[in-house]
């Protein structure tokens, strides 16, 4: 997890474009300035970053499904439940399923598990727009390669 860069997904571990599901891994760093403030003496992964992790896994699913033709942007959250604390060093299993693909928007259901325990879950709505080309596309493809998004998907970009 490159937490200071807001790149929270380490590795895509499974992608199923038939079922429209994705699984990813994200390990919370053991040290970060974030934990100095959140909280002094009791470092906790902020809940908003857990939500962002679910959004990013969902986002990679949408990007893979649309083969880098469409870019999702976080728009709305529903039924967000933050069920337990996450601490530095924990490895998170982030998963998402695309439950609706509308015109200009998409909806996923996502969750995070750690140590076989449900950490959080949410229904997430994204605005989906044509993928920005040029440097943006190239940088996203670079990230896709780093996190091992299946190359067949990335190659279509």
């Amino acid at each position: 997890m490159r937490i200071e860069y807001f790149q929270l997904i380490d590795r895509i571990t499974a992608l199923n474009l038939f079922d429209l599901t994705i699984r990813a891994e994200a390990t919370v760093p053991t040290t970060s300035t974030i934990f100095e403030g959140h909280f002094p003496g009791r470092p906790l992964m902020p809940g908003v970053l857990l939500i962002e992790s679910m959004a990013q896994a969902s986002g990679w699913l949408i990007i893979a499904h649309t083969r880098f033709e469409r870019m999702p942007f976080l728009a709305a959250l529903k039924e967000v439940k933050l069920r337990t604390f996450v601490t530095p060093g924990q490895t998170l299993a982030v998963s998402a399923k695309l439950v609706h693909e509308g015109s200009g928007f998409a909806v996923t259901k996502a969750e995070i598990n750690a140590d076989d325990k449900l950490v959080c879950n949410a229904e997430i709505t994204f605005r989906v727009v044509d993928f920005p080309k040029g440097e943006f596309l190239a940088s996203m493809q670079e990230v896709a390669k780093r996190i091992a998004l299946p190359t067949e998907t990335a190659a279509h970009g």
Binding site: A75, A76, E101, G102, S103
Partner: protein
């Protein structure tokens, strides 16, 4: 049309917390009911699910932006319901 309107009005009332009795066939979703684009995504999601269709929101927005259509054609509820009926009929063919 009536059945479609009742379903759509109920979706709008529930999604946007708007009193059902203030929603009429000639209500403009944006101008009269004050529904913004983000709330309309929720409505579109619910309509898509309820009718098994995909409202072509991007196409409609593009047509409005290009001056080829007015918002009334798509967002006055009786017109929206007619579009929904057309989409349902097209899907059934």
């Amino acid at each position: 049309m009536s059945s479609t309107f009742n379903t759509v009005a109920s979706i709008i009332a529930e999604t946007c917390d708007i009193p059902r009795d203030t929603i009429n066939p000639d209500s403009h979703a944006i101008d009269d009911l004050g529904i913004d684009s983000l709330d309309f995504l929720d409505i579109a999601f619910a309509i898509d699910k309820a009718f098994g269709i995909k409202l072509p929101l991007e196409q409609w927005t593009q047509e409005v932006n290009d001056g080829k259509a007015t918002t009334e054609q798509y967002f006055v509820l009786q017109n929206l319901c007619s579009r929904i009926d057309d989409l349902v009929a097209a899907k059934a063919k």
